[in-house]
Symmetry: C2
Subunit: 245 residues, 2 copies
Amino acid sequence: MPREIEPGKLPPSSCRECQIAPFTIYGPTIREAPNKICQLRCETRKVSAGRTLLREGDIPQKIHVIYSGWALYYKQLSDGRRQIASFLLPGDTLMLEAICFPRLPAPFSVKALTDVAICGFTTTDMITLLHGSDAQERKFSRARHQLLRFLHSRLFDLGRRSARGRLAQLVLELCARVKTRGMMADDGSFSFPPRQEHLADALGITTVHVNRTLAQLRREGVFSIEGGRLSVHDEEALRQIAHEE
Amino acid sequence: MPREIEPGKLPPSSCRECQIAPFTIYGPTIREAPNKICQLRCETRKVSAGRTLLREGDIPQKIHVIYSGWALYYKQLSDGRRQIASFLLPGDTLMLEAICFPRLPAPFSVKALTDVAICGFTTTDMITLLHGSDAQERKFSRARHQLLRFLHSRLFDLGRRSARGRLAQLVLELCARVKTRGMMADDGSFSFPPRQEHLADALGITTVHVNRTLAQLRREGVFSIEGGRLSVHDEEALRQIAHEE
DNA sequence: CGTACAATTGAGTGAGTTCAAGTGGGGTGG
DNA sequence: CCACCCCACTTGAACTCACTCAATTGTACG
């Protein structure tokens, strides 16, 4: 059975059968009362690659969760410079912040990297849901905390790490996220839609330099990206680079 | 009357007379019911420069608000590398996050840059207080949102801006924060305790390079730091550099 | 007057950039 | 089915911003 969900594929009509639901913010509820989620879900929609899901400054009307495909979470300047804060994978919540501060403008934009399918909930329903049980409340709290930890570690990466170190860190992080969602193939590779341009914008370096760094790590047998798939060949070395540089 | 509060000076016994209170997270309550704050305050303490107020991984027991002095909010690596996420000024809350996720370990450390005086509140009291009125709730929500915006803009700075641009951005931000707290002297200068080393760790560059960049901006007549005070000479130029580079 | 720490300056190096040209695969239209 | 084009990726060469190492100056403090 294929663990990878094709980008843009719509979710099953019943959330009970959704293979991603257990990994979402409402995972605890799925286990306890799966029907609740189906009832609250007010939208399922496919968004084509490149489309903007949310523009910086807009006030998010709904909370969306990604079912299939990858998205970007970024800040753009008029002169073309862009900083990608993170990639969003199946199971991730768009604008987790919006749940905490509804009615406040988004501090960044979100766009689809591949074709994407999303499930929508009203903000109020989501808030009620997330405070519905102890387990659910804990999960929500942990998720917000992780977001903050994540931002701080990215701050550290961008400020103090070399291109190699940042790249290794990013790959390691994505690996971990892909693994927990059961999207890792048996041979240790996984679907990797970002272009070198996206990596550059995430790492704060140029595409040319991403290319060279990638080539070096490939030559060293650490990991490689080929045909839209990433394979880690030497996880130990990867960890070391991510940790030390 | 002096607007600047001497680092390490203890707050007045009554919060009603505190000149910083209106700018804190509990500002709305100070206006409506100043006595409430005095009653909840369970600690006032002086901390010497260099002392650690909170270590990464610790679980914060109280919420502290700075009355006088500056503090640092940072992440340290064993090999000496450090990334300062931001500076904390009088009126700022230590671990605003702790209010949102009590009982979770701090994702970074906080240490006193100068002598510092702080007021302490129990986490539960603070949470109750912050949800005590509509105005208070809005203020809290806005503060958390600003924190997030701030982290995102720092991410952008570190990723995509030159040393000059980052420095200008930082100075501009600190200026704004100092101004709103009424700590700006009439001649447009203000007390600036950070050493070049701190700026380096905040900006993700070396002290040597901070020094050169600072020297260049001084030569250009944009701003200068002298005798622990920062004076902006050409705010227009500063804005332009901060915005464009 | 010595010590200590912050700021400054110089010289050499290196990581990452810019500009520019070339490769290769996949899709499309003739 | 081939020619063409487009896009992502790749490579080279020159350059520059920022780093490292190291020495010097200035300043506060005992």
